[in-house]
């Protein structure tokens, strides 16, 4: 098995909106606290140390923390939900949405 990453149609549509408003994007999977357990879409973000790439979505690389998911094959599906009050620093929060794992 290997890592897989998928996007729902809703999330894909949101990606296009975010891309129009932002520079080069990177996706990182978060964990820990408050809004940790969700994907984060960051602009101009260098991949952090000890992370591995688990895939690419619409040209956007997806990274996860290898300290947390070493030896774990991740099967991720990323969706978007409306959330006018999202505190995630993820780029879509400005548009009133939040990316979530389903």
């Amino acid at each position: 098995m290997a890592d897989t990453v998928n996007l729902t149609d809703r999330a894909r549509a949101l990606f296009d909106q975010v891309r129009a408003a932002r520079g080069p994007l990177t996706m990182v999977l978060g964990s820990g606290c408050c809004d940790g357990g969700s994907p984060f879409l960051f602009e101009n973000y260098p991949p952090p140390a000890n992370h591995r790439q688990v895939g690419e979505l619409d040209g956007i690389p997806v990274w996860v923390d290898n300290g947390l998911w070493q030896g774990v094959d991740l099967d991720l599906t990323i969706d978007a939900v409306q959330d006018p009050a999202s505190d995630s620093f993820s780029a879509e929060s400005e548009l009133g949405y939040r990316l979530v794992l389903i």
Binding site: G32, C34, G36, G37, Y45, V72, A85, F89, E94
Partner: protein, 509 residues
């Protein structure tokens, strides 16, 4: 779960440069009661421009120096004067009920902890800040010539403060009180789900008229715009953040542009170790308190319970029996020991992790689902997984909900190894009747706090802050206060003789 907004729902504005104002976009967002999905207030949705205005106001006030140049003692006295008003309106305006409705904190917990403890921390940090010396003498130096050296203790400057939704008022107090007593100008961004008590606190501070305009600002709005602006803006000198590890990492990156100071309180997956000689009457209830307090939405929760193999069956049986007695219900109900999770997003996250735990082969022994008859809010039953190994995702990832993973160990060495096998290092617990042995073990756990025979007890004089990916820096107590200051070294030469400056001769002929 949309609900019609009643006419009586209050709308909160932004507080920038000593004035309440709408967001420049005119937009607001609703604050939802997670017990029933109803809108309880609307809150201004700040834009990047609003945030920039708040930063500019803070910068102006800091440069003007009305607040920044007062002594620690003088600022402390003013804050204690303000505190009298705060403590009064906290009761008159029933902040405990607001906190309970806004954040899903049970009214029992809001009345006993969230509000009174938060306010006591504000008061105590103001008092402790008054003890900070404006000048600290340093040893005289006599090489190459006699000189007098001292530290001038100064504020850092403009501080962006970003707080989470689990302890809204307490986090606002932990951030504002030390920053203000140290003479900084602040921009506070509360968590969008739970802005109300922080807004009420700022309202009360404003009403005192004791703070120069621009010293205190509050902007409410999304992390992706307001938060990012605070973390990246060149006129912000420091960012203080409590929240997720991933956002903490992002803040460090954004802050690096102008090398801002940062303090970060991030995630955790704390081990709670029952030693073979533990008093189980304490350890059982204590371990449930460690995990299920505020529905498990606490960063330092003891979410990994480490149990010796010899005690496994007894501990598990007693844990399950006590867990079944926990009452889950509307946060406003005095009978409720647990309220709802803060949001539907959080509820879905917890449900997803429970499924991951099952797929990994761990066994749900109690809970694991939404309680029956509570379909209007975001409730989840207190849940215990047995048969967990530390490499499972439910043992490594922070769920931030009412989910306990029980892990057995063979000997204390293995317990220590499991406890430290985490990317996090926030806190931990040890249950034992042998205090010297427990202290010896506590020293070897790589976390910022270890409780022996108790849990969750952070206090106003003890530093709190994580090792590893749980954060940078400390909050609370003198350690936390000094994070909001900079030690400036001033050297005053005491000799008038050119000859004493012989080191200059290495350059000059």
């Amino acid at each position: 779960m949309a609900t019609a907004v009643s006419e009586s729902v209050k709308t909160y504005q932004l507080y920038i440069d000593g004035e309440w104002r709408d967001a420049t976009s005119g937009e607001t967002f609703p604050s939802i009661n997670p017990s029933n999905g109803e809108v309880i207030a609307n809150v201004a949705k700040a834009t990047r421009e609003d945030t920039q205005a708040a930063i500019a106001a803070a910068r102006r006030s800091f440069e003007k120096g009305e607040w920044a140049t007062k002594s620690f003692r003088a600022r402390s006295d003013i804050m204690l004067q303000a505190f009298k008003h705060i403590a009064q309106v906290a009761i008159e305006r029933d902040w405990a009920t607001i906190e309970s409705q806004d954040a899903g904190v049970t009214i029992r917990l809001a009345n006993l902890s969230h509000v009174p403890v938060g306010l006591e921390h504000f008061r105590s940090l103001a008092v402790q800040g008054g003890e900070i010396k404006d000048y600290e003498p340093l040893p005289w130096v006599d090489m190459p010539a006699v000189a007098w050296n001292f530290v001038n203790r100064e504020p850092v400057g403009v501080i962006g403060q970003i707080i989470p939704w689990n302890f809204p008022l307490m986090m606002a107090c932990w951030k504002l009180a030390p920053a203000l007593v140290a003479g900084n100008s602040v921009i506070l961004k509360p968590a969008s789900y739970t802005c109300l008590t922080a807004l009420e606190l700022i309202r009360a501070l404003d009403e005192t008229g004791l703070f120069p305009k621009g010293v205190i600002n509050i902007v409410t709005g999304p992390g992706g715009s307001v938060g990012e602006e605070l973390a990246a803006h060149p006129e912000v000198d420091k960012v203080a953040f409590t929240g997720s590890t991933e956002v903490g990492r992002r803040i460090m990156q954004l802050a690096s542009g102008t090398v801002k100071k940062v303090t970060l309180e991030l995630g955790g997956k704390s081990a709670n170790i029952i030693l073979p000689d533990a008093d189980l009457d304490l350890a059982i209830d204590g371990s449930l308190f460690a995990t299920f307090l505020h529905q498990g939405q606490v960063c330092e929760s003891g979410t990994r319970l480490l149990v010796p193999e010899s005690l496994h069956d007894e501990v598990l049986e007693r844990l399950v029996a006590r867990t079944r007695e926990i009452v889950v219900g509307d946060a406003a109900d005095l009978e409720s020991g647990m309220g709802p999770l803060v949001s539907d997003v959080q509820l879905q996250t917890v449900k997803r992790y429970v499924e991951i735990g099952k797929q990994e082969g761990a066994r749900v022994v109690v809970g694991g689902k939404q309680p029956e008859g509570l379909d209007r809010g975001y409730f989840f039953e207190p849940t215990i997984f047995d048969g967990v190994t530390n490499d499972m995702r439910i043992a490594q990832e922070e769920i931030f909900g009412p989910v306990l993973s029980v892990i057995t160990y063979k000997n204390t060495g293995e317990a220590l190894q499991i406890a430290n096998d985490s990317i996090y290092g926030l806190a931990g617990g040890i249950w034992s009747q042998d205090i010297p042995e427990a202290i010896s073990l506590a020293k070897r756990i790589r976390t910022g706090t270890v409780w022996i025979n108790d849990f969750h007890l952070l206090n106003d004089v003890s530093p709190f802050g994580g090792y590893k990916q749980s954060g940078v820096g400390k909050e609370l107590g003198m350690h936390g206060l000094l994070e909001y200051t900079i030690a400036k070294h001033i050297h005053v030469a005491q000799s008038n003789k050119r000859a004493d400056r012989f080191i200059w001769d290495t350059l000059l002929p």
